[in-house]
C-alpha cells in the first residue's frame, strides 16, 4: 500500500480495512501547453465518498488537472482511472460523463436558457423524462440550494453572482452524480455567501454520498468542505494529507500558502 492510500484509509478512520479501489486516480499525469509545462507528473487518488481539496496558487494547474479528469483536456503523459478503469479522452462517453457533476468557477450557466432549463439540462436530454418532470426536478434542486420556484423562469443574467453559483450547484447535483467537481466555488463571493455555499456543498456531498474534488485557494473552504487536501506546486503534488494535519505539515510551501505570507519559498511578484 502506498503512502497516499494509507492517508485515504486513515481519513476514513480505518487502518485495518481492506484497501478499496480509488474512485479517481491520477498516475503521472503531465500536461503542457507549448513550452509551458503545467502538470509535470501528478499522482493523486480520491477514495469513494471522500472530499478532496486541491489547493495551490493561480496558474499552478489545478483547473487543468480537473479538466484532464473530465476529458476536456488530453494529458500528454500518465493515466487517469475511474473506479480502477483507465479512461482516455475519447472514452468519455455519455454514460461516464453522466456520473460527474461540475460547478464551474463562474457558474457557466447558459445565457440563452432560463434557470430551470439550465438546472435540468442533462435531464432534458433523456427520453424517459417528460418536460414537466424535468422542470419538477429542477425546481426541487433549486429549493435544495435555497432558491424559490420564482427564479425558475428567470434568465442567468437576471441573477446575482451568488445566486448564479447556487443555480450552478443545483445543475451539478441535478442528476445525482457519483463525483462532483467544484472549481473555486467561493471565488468572487462575499464572506457570508461563501459560507453559505461551503455549507451547501458539505451538506449536498454528505447527502448524495458523492465523491467531491474541490479546487480552491480559500482556506476556509478547505476547512469547511474537505476531508483531505493536496497542494499543487510547480506541476506536482507538493503535499497531501488530512485537513486536520495541514497546519502541522512541516512543509514550508504549505505553511506559506496557509498563512498567506509573502515571505517563503513560493515566488511572489511584488
Amino acid at each position: 500500500m502506498d503512502q497516499q492510500s494509507a492517508i485515504v484509509q486513515a481519513a476514513h478512520g480505518g487502518g485495518q480495512a481492506a484497501p478499496e479501489t480509488p474512485k479517481i486516480e491520477l498516475r503521472g499525469v503531465a500536461k503542457s501547453f507549448g513550452a509551458n509545462h503545467v502538470l509535470r507528473g501528478v499522482d493523486l487518488s480520491v477514495a469513494r465518498g471522500e472530499s478532496l481539496a486541491i489547493i495551490g496558487g493561480s496558474g499552478t494547474g489545478k483547473s487543468v488537472a480537473i479538466k484532464c479528469v473530465l476529458g476536456l483536456l488530453e494529458p500528454n503523459a500518465g493515466e487517469i482511472l475511474i473506479d480502477g478503469v483507465r479512461v482516455d479522452r475519447r472514452r468519455r462517453d455519455d454514460a461516464l460523463l453522466a456520473r460527474f457533476g461540475m460547478l464551474f468557477q463562474g457558474a457557466a450557466l447558459f445565457d440563452s436558457l432560463p434557470v430551470w432549463r439550465n438546472v435540468a439540462f442533462r435531464l432534458l436530454q433523456r427520453k424517459d423524462l417528460s418536460r414537466a418532470e424535468c422542470r419538477a426536478v429542477a425546481i426541487e434542486k433549486l429549493r435544495r440550494v435555497g432558491m424559490s420556484e420564482k427564479v425558475a423562469d428567470l434568465f442567468p443574467a437576471e441573477l446575482s453572482g451568488g445566486m448564479q453559483k447556487r443555480v450552478g450547484l443545483a445543475r451539478a447535483i441535478a442528476a445525482d452524480p457519483e463525483v462532483i467537481f467544484f472549481d473555486e466555488p467561493t471565488t468572487g463571493l462575499d464572506p457570508i455567501m461563501a459560507g453559505v455555499i461551503n455549507e451547501l456543498i458539505r451538506e449536498l456531498v454528505d447527502e448524495i454520498g458523492a465523491t467531491a474534488v474541490t479546487i480552491t485557494h480559500d482556506m476556509s473552504s478547505v476547512r469547511a468542505i474537505a476531508h483531505r487536501v493536496a497542494m499543487l506546486y510547480d506541476g506536482e503534488i507538493r503535499w497531501h494529507g488530512r485537513v486536520m494535519d495541514m497546519d502541522f505539515s512541516g512543509d514550508p510551501y504549505m505553511q506559506q500558502f496557509i498563512s498567506g505570507s509573502a515571505i517563503g519559498p513560493i515566488d511572489t511578484l511584488r
Binding site: 479538466k67 473530465l70 476529458g71 476536456l72 455519455d94 460523463l97 453522466a98 460527474f100 457533476g101 461540475m102 464551474f104 468557477q105 463562474g106 457557466a108 450557466l109 447558459f110 445565457d111 439540462f121 442533462r122 436530454q125 445543475r171
Partner: protein, 261 residues
C-alpha cells in the same frame, strides 16, 4: 545576407501559419458537417437560428437590395443613353441582381451581421466555460452549437436571396417607372422575358454556399476564441473579415462553375 534570411523566415512563418489555419478550418468544417448528419438533432436550436439568421436579417437584406436595384437602374440608364434604355435597363437590372448582386450583397450583409454575432456568442461561451459545461453535461458542442447554426444559415440564405432578388428588381422598377418615366407593363414584360430560371437558381446555390461560409467562419473563430474581451473581439473581427473574403472568392469560383462550364 542576414536581412534576406530574416525575410525568408518571415515568409515561411506566414505560409506555415496560413497552412495550419487552413487545415484547422478544413477539419472543423468536416466535424461540423458530420455533426449536422449525426443524431441527436437539435431541432429547437435549429429553428431558433433560422429565426435569428433568416427572419431577423430580412430588413437589412431587403433595404440593401432595394437601394442597389434602384442605383443600378439609374447607372445603367445613364450609361446606355445611346441605346434603347427602356429595353436595356430592366434586362440588366434583373440579370445582375439575380446572378451577382443579390447573392453577393446579401451574403456580405449577413456576414457582417451573423458571422459577428455567432463568433461573439460562441467566443463568450468559450471564455465563460459554457462550452466546457456542455461537454460535462454529455452534450457535444459541435452538434448543439455548431451544426444548428450551419444548417440554419445554409437554408436561410437562399430564401433571403430570393427575397433580395425580388426587392432588388422592384427597386429597379421603381426608379425606371417613377423616376425615368418607363412604361411599367413593358418594364415587367422585358424583365420576365429575359430573366432565365438558371439565373435565379445559380444565385440561390451561391447563397447556400455563402450561408455555409458565414456560419462556418462565425463558429470556427468563436469556438476557438482567445481569452478575455480582447480574444472575443479578435474572433469577431476575424469571423467577419474571413467570411467576406471567402464569399467573394467562392463567388468567383461558383460563377466559373455555373456560367463557363
Amino acid at each position: 545576407m542576414q536581412a534576406t534570411l530574416t525575410l525568408i523566415a518571415a515568409i515561411g512563418r506566414t505560409v506555415l501559419t496560413l497552412m495550419r489555419q487552413t487545415g484547422a478550418v478544413f477539419l472543423f468544417s468536416i466535424s461540423a458537417i458530420a455533426a449536422a448528419f449525426r443524431p441527436p438533432f437539435y431541432l429547437r436550436e435549429t429553428l431558433v437560428q433560422l429565426w435569428r439568421i433568416g427572419y431577423e436579417s430580412l430588413p437589412v437584406v431587403g433595404l440593401t437590395a432595394l437601394f442597389t436595384g434602384a442605383a443600378l437602374a439609374l447607372q445603367i440608364y445613364v450609361g446606355s443613353s445611346d441605346l434603347n434604355a427602356e429595353a436595356v435597363v430592366p434586362r440588366i437590372v434583373s440579370f445582375a441582381v439575380a446572378r451577382e448582386l443579390g447573392p453577393v450583397l446579401a451574403g456580405l450583409m449577413v456576414a457582417g451581421r451573423v458571422s459577428a454575432s455567432i463568433a461573439a456568442e460562441l467566443g463568450t461561451m468559450r471564455v465563460t466555460e459554457q462550452i466546457d459545461a456542455l461537454t460535462t453535461l454529455s452534450t457535444d458542442p459541435m452538434r448543439y452549437l455548431v451544426a444548428p447554426r450551419i444548417v440554419a444559415a445554409t437554408l436561410a440564405l437562399p430564401v433571403l436571396v430570393a427575397v433580395a432578388d425580388s426587392i432588388g428588381i422592384f427597386g429597379g422598377y421603381l426608379v425606371g417607372v417613377e423616376r425615368l418615366g418607363f412604361n411599367g407593363a413593358i418594364y415587367l414584360k422585358t424583365t420576365t422575358e429575359h430573366l432565365m430560371a438558371s439565373d435565379v437558381v445559380s444565385g440561390l446555390w451561391k447563397a447556400a454556399a455563402f450561408g455555409f461560409i458565414i456560419a462556418l467562419m462565425g463558429c470556427y473563430h468563436g469556438y476557438n476564441s482567445g481569452r478575455g474581451a480582447q480574444g472575443v473581439g479578435r474572433a469577431t473581427t476575424q469571423a467577419v473579415v474571413s467570411a467576406c473574403v471567402l464569399i467573394l472568392a467562392a463567388n468567383y469560383v461558383l460563377t466559373e462553375f455555373f456560367f463557363t462550364s
